[in-house]
Symmetry: C2
Subunit: 567 residues, 2 copies
């Protein structure tokens, strides 16, 4: 992973053909010199706070070669991959770097490290692929003597496959492609493909309740979990795998989504499926977002949904077309759509995976409902294009950051009856917040992840970056969108999780007594409070802040010292 951005240099796609023109016309962005990230050896790094004696004990627990405190290890574990993370890293600020990176090789070693850190008063930040976009892996000291990052990528084995019951037990540090490759040898797939797939881990998916792009068909990551092996400072928890139980509260659901705050997922037994022999992805057009949303609702409630279903709004459709550049094919497509009354409409992608028969059977049912709902079939070309570019957006973000563009995404979910109004409300909130700062944004959205009762909305917005106040600018948009989401009764996150960036809205999400339930679990599993401080649970606002009506969230831009930012 590039230290200041996404993925690997040699795999980074070029900026799309129409992007420069779009940035100039929509964001009034002058084509200037790129703003490259600071080189690794110029990044500023705080002194290591942990004494050698502590490192020595950690080395005894996992082996000397698996405790790293060199410059590269600390910088590459200093942050996740959120917009503010990248702004800091690109500017050469790795002040949030952990004192050391510890790589346990087994669940027993994880347990040993957690017990040791609990005893020594050292904060622990669990780290899978490090792709959090909500500050979930930012190492915060939070008053502790020091902080280590617990890198789980050595837990990388497929432990068991039960082909008859269609379950597999995997270690938590397996990366997406490795997990899929190991299961492919058994003819199986998990079917979990988040945008971060190439660089995220099984444990990271579950700790954040990640939903993959094909969750409509394969289910969310949390729906795939049957069993867990979980390590906490207080000991080990095992949730036995099984299809269903009525034996009390589902403790599995307390551990899944716990974001490292209660402990560490070491192994998981997941439902798997036969690997699909055939894939078909298609494009559809709708005259409006509302028309498309209604068609997707009818399809989903008619149990006729494909595995992937997503509908871009008018703005996302327009910008996607513009980004691709004005090719002949594009002009042809635009003319085709205009002729059928679909000018300025919305593009949907639907994708089917399975046996050829199965795909064809399901496709016929879906297509009939989409057509009845006003949809116009566009064939497989847009589907293929989407499939090819499905993991490219984070690379594109790096290009945009190079050019001084604020770019972020946020997401929520709500019931079908509230979706269209929520879409308008959140759009307006982002537009207003950035417009009032003199940087009017482009705000795009797609509807995806269908459920019988509702769906997710995923917003992407771009604006001219305010160089000197980049984090304040970002936070203004983030806060406005989040307040709009909460005021609408929607969830603060559908699949990005809570981390630092959403923690202050957890009170609105689950109520004070709900927070108390999470705290009660934390006190039992992590009595010293060392696990991933500053994440998931809100930091209570000070009275002064509350009075002033200001956000209790520490500004990571203005107070970059970890000690301060965790206050």
């Amino acid at each position: 992973m590039r230290g200041w951005g996404w993925g690997e240099d040699e795999r980074a796609p070029a900026l799309p053909a129409g992007a420069e023109q779009l940035l100039a016309s929509e964001l009034a962005l002058q084509r200037g010199p790129a703003v490259p990230p600071v080189a690794l050896d110029e990044v500023s790094l705080p002194d290591r706070a942990l004494p050698d004696a502590v490192l020595g004990r950690l080395r005894s627990a996992v082996g000397a070669e698996h405790v790293l405190d060199d410059r590269e290890a600390r910088v590459t574990h200093a942050a996740g991959r959120s917009y503010p993370d990248l702004v800091r890293l690109r500017s050469g600020d790795a002040s949030s770097a952990p004192d050391a990176v510890v790589l346990p090789g087994s669940a027993d070693q994880v347990l040993a490290v957690l017990k040791l850190c609990s005893e020594l008063g050292v904060a622990v930040t669990p780290f899978g692929g490090g792709t959090s976009v909500v500050g979930g892996v930012d190492p915060l000291r939070d008053g502790f003597k020091g902080v280590i990052t617990l890198d789980l990528t050595r837990l990388d084995r497929l432990l068991d496959v039960d082909a008859k019951s269609l379950t597999a037990t995997l270690e938590a540090g397996m990366m997406g492609p490795a997990a899929e490759a190991a299961l492919a040898e058994h003819g199986l797939t998990i079917g979990h493909f988040p945008q971060s797939f190439e660089h995220s881990t099984v444990g990271g998916w579950l700790a954040t309740r990640s939903a993959g792009q094909a969750s409509t068909g394969y289910g969310r990551s949390d729906e795939l979990v049957e069993g867990l092996r979980f390590a906490a400072p207080a000991g080990e928890l095992r949730v036995a795998a099984g299809p269903a139980t009525a034996a009390g509260p589902a403790l599995r659901e307390l551990l899944v989504g716990s974001e490292g705050v209660l402990g560490v997922i070491c192994e998981a037994t997941l439902r798997v499926r036969p690997a699909p022999g055939h894939r078909r992805y298609e494009g559809w057009s709708f005259r409006s977002f509302e028309e498309g949303a209604e068609a997707l609702r009818v399809m989903e409630q008619g149990e006729a949904s494909p595995d992937v279903a997503r509908l871009s709004d008018e703005e996302e459709t327009r910008v996607s077309f513009a980004m691709s550049g004005a090719s002949g094919a594009q002009r042809l497509a635009t003319r085709y759509l205009s002729a059928r009354g679909h000018a300025g409409g919305c593009l949907a992608i639907v994708g089917f995976e399975g046996s050829e028969d199965d795909v064809e059977r399901r496709r016929q049912r879906s297509s009939a409902l989409l057509r009845a709902g006003g949809g116009l079939a566009l064939g497989t070309r847009p589907g293929k294009a989407w499939l090819e570019g499905r993991y490219a957006a984070p690379y594109l973000r790096d290009h945009l950051l190079d050019r001084g563009v604020l770019v972020d995404t946020l997401e929520t979910a709500t019931s079908w009856s509230k979706l269209v109004s929520l879409h308008a409300t959140v759009r307006a909130a982002i537009t207003g917040a950035l417009g009032s700062r003199g940087t009017p944004p482009v705000v795009m959205c797609h509807l995806s992840h269908l459920y019988p009762s509702g769906a997710s909305l995923y917003f992407t917005y771009l604006a001219q970056q305010q160089r000197d106040t980049a984090l304040e600018q970002w936070w203004a948009a983030k806060q406005a969108a989040s307040e709009a989401i909460v005021a609408s009764g929607a969830t603060i996150t559908h699949h990005h999780a809570v981390g630092r960036d959403h923690s202050q809205w957890m009170r609105a999400e689950v109520g004070e007594l709900g927070l108390e339930l999470i705290r009660a679990a934390k006190e039992r599993l992590d009595p010293a409070g060392i696990m991933n401080p500053g994440k998931l649970l809100p930091v209570s606002p000070t009275e002064a802040e509350a009075e002033a009506g200001r956000s209790p969230r520490p500004s990571r831009g203005s107070s970059p010292s970890p000690a301060q930012s965790a206050s």
Copy 2:
């Protein structure tokens, strides 16, 4: 509900034609005079322990007419509907009766009563329909000044319907038929039909993670929950309804299945579906349980399952035939099966609900897979018979109790790869435990509630009752079966819940740290520990009991005093 048994007199079906002969031939049961239950006015009832002042404050909270301490109210709330409950009640023992029955009329009143009881040190047993078969509503004092039963049946309103999102918000005390009738006016159904449907409540379903007979199609009750309003002594929790969220641990899953131990479910937002216009239930025959189980697995994993799918083992099939009596139709069916190599085989029922098109489309896919798996189609007659008798078993149990028969059911779930061996193991355990007491049983089982990774096994067993040691006899079988289930790594309950009868196996189910997590939640929500004492969480064995290797479970037969039995 009959005070000593199930349902209403006028609706009780007669003992099936072949039953008497079967009991004589299989259980060596002499046809003697029936053993009728003790009449209500002869039931022995303990003195009311709560002083008038406490009743006065409860009356202020819910209205004087909604606090009942008359004989009938106390007896009818003295127990659930488990075999030991009925043995005690039929013998005239209502020593477990609550001091009073309190019927709140709103969620706010529930909260007020819980706060009051917490302040006064009065134990509270939440009570929906009172159909628990695991001792879940037995009012236990557990060292408190007294115990009230909180009857929730006045919370009986349909609060909201969102037809576009297919969700409905219902109060927890709505009985099954009332809930379905109210939704039918909107053309909707919950589709949750447990055997107790006619006498159980929405809140009871969720508090116990009930799975209805059609859970293969409609989902378990816990899978249908989107939102909750929950009252605990420490306050109110609201889980906002929504299709999905990644905002931390799923607190909803801590409240669902909490069996009244953490508090009371007052309202729930459930997923609903369009009411089916068409139903088709069919019979199938398989040569063996193993063959049938394999066919159901392939069907379920092929996403081709009907809404109801159940497969009786050889013994359940044989006994069901015998129970129906030796009619001409039966003889014909037997001859038909023999001619096709299915003599001594297994009967399966599959049922489809939906639009006529939908049913036919799904039926064709299922049928093809069942046939390929060795199934022989028997047409709709067995399906209709099952559908008509689906709620009759508890009535039949009363007839058997009249005749001095021990009859109980128990259930579990496991993965497809372990199902057939678990079936044999549990059968052997029950057979061994009762055989060694000189009362060899008939043990029957069916596989039902299909999931991609496994299914449920539901056992019914009959034996000659040992009149003087009826509860010890029952406990011997229960304990043997439960130990066999736990040793096999299966869950102690798939849909009956934990209650008193399974609580000692919760340690095996979730581990010591898992128990600590439930206790942590309880301490936060119910600091005085008044909520449904003696349920869900294991009572720790005393050292003496542990040394003697005896069960820590209090024998309800030999120590009928509530104070003792809660020790």
